[in-house]
Symmetry: none
Subunit: 123 residues, 4 copies
């Protein structure tokens, strides 16, 4: 479910965070279902528990999971998260387009790209 890419320049904990964000946002992990335990994940990935802990701490702080004392961490099924993520995506898109424009990418080019991603719908 989780794969670590050691070639990736990003820290391990960040890869884990990103992976779970996607899984949770896509609904691949049911709301209120239990996350793999820190130790279990650490063992499976041959990683130090502290690193998993850090990833979980970030996920908690971002609202993706919530801890229950003595039981473990659980998936937060809050729809707000999806909205927040969408907004972040939007902002990134706008930056991307703005930068592209500076370097001579035309609106037409962008449209082509859009069609490629969304299929040949009548955009």
């Amino acid at each position: 479910m989780i794969v670590i890419d050691y070639q990736d320049r990003r820290p391990i904990y960040e890869q884990i965070v990103e992976r779970f964000e996607k899984l949770i946002l896509k609904g691949a992990l049911e709301a209120d279902s239990q996350m793999p335990s820190v130790r279990q994940m650490a063992a499976e990935l041959s990683i130090n528990p502290n690193t998993i802990q850090k990833a979980y701490a970030i996920l908690e702080q971002e609202g993706y999971i919530y801890p229950v004392k003595g039981k473990g961490n659980f998936v937060n099924g809050n729809l707000v998260l999806r909205q927040r993520k969408k907004e972040a995506c939007f902002q990134k898109l706008e930056e991307c387009l703005t930068e592209g424009r500076e370097f001579g990418i035309t609106a037409e080019d962008c449209l082509k790209c859009l069609r490629r991603v969304y299929g040949e719908v009548d955009i």
Copy 2:
């Protein structure tokens, strides 16, 4: 010409690299004109010369500047760079759109964003 934002989370050398990339791509720096010397820049920005050195090394490696022994670094006026940068932008845009789509951003939303960036032209 170069301003460093210490609140920016990126390392200083990266800010310098990005700034010069833009200046060169936009033609603000003439082809074959001399870059400010490492020491001069370091002094002006009150920055460690190692940092400038690293920025220049990256710019050279990317093909934006070329060194002349005993003289300094000079701007590379190669049009290929512009093309390469454009392609990089494109790829980033495609990634951005793909991710956005995964999280429920519609093609229509993207179009709106496109219009916002490129103005109300008949897109």
Copy 3:
């Protein structure tokens, strides 16, 4: 009667303790009436008996309940408890006001808050 909020960051035993404190102080549980047995509560709440045990131990230590060997735990109808709780509340309030003052909350602001809580009586 007792509801556990798993989203609550506090440990379960603490939630149970606080809940019983309130019930007893408000007189919702009659003096010398029997508390639910540890096992019964554990079963009802689907909770580890150790957790209930710990909650009861704290309630006993605080003087809210008293154990009778072989019979169970019983509510202590001592009025002293109410007074003690009140004093604890007072102290917390004073700390709260002191801290607020340090950060620029005015006496007038506090008065407004007071009116909001106690209603529009002529304070």
Copy 4:
């Protein structure tokens, strides 16, 4: 400047965070002045650098400080923080008053407390 209370049940990193929050909010630490280095603090307090790091990470996440790569951490002189803290204080005060009321503390009692904290002004 920073003192750790080992009798305190709260974790060390939390004590450090709280102490710096106050120092910064009160203006005892000038905006954009450098925080003590992680290692220096660790040495002074005979504490593991990781613990200081955790405290600083929280302070950064809360907006109290900002990191500059290779240089250190610096105080963020943002007035928004003060406002946010004030609001948090208010909420806590309201909770405190509400709880107190439940246990029989009168508005008059609260007023007395208020006068004690704010002095004998004509409240």
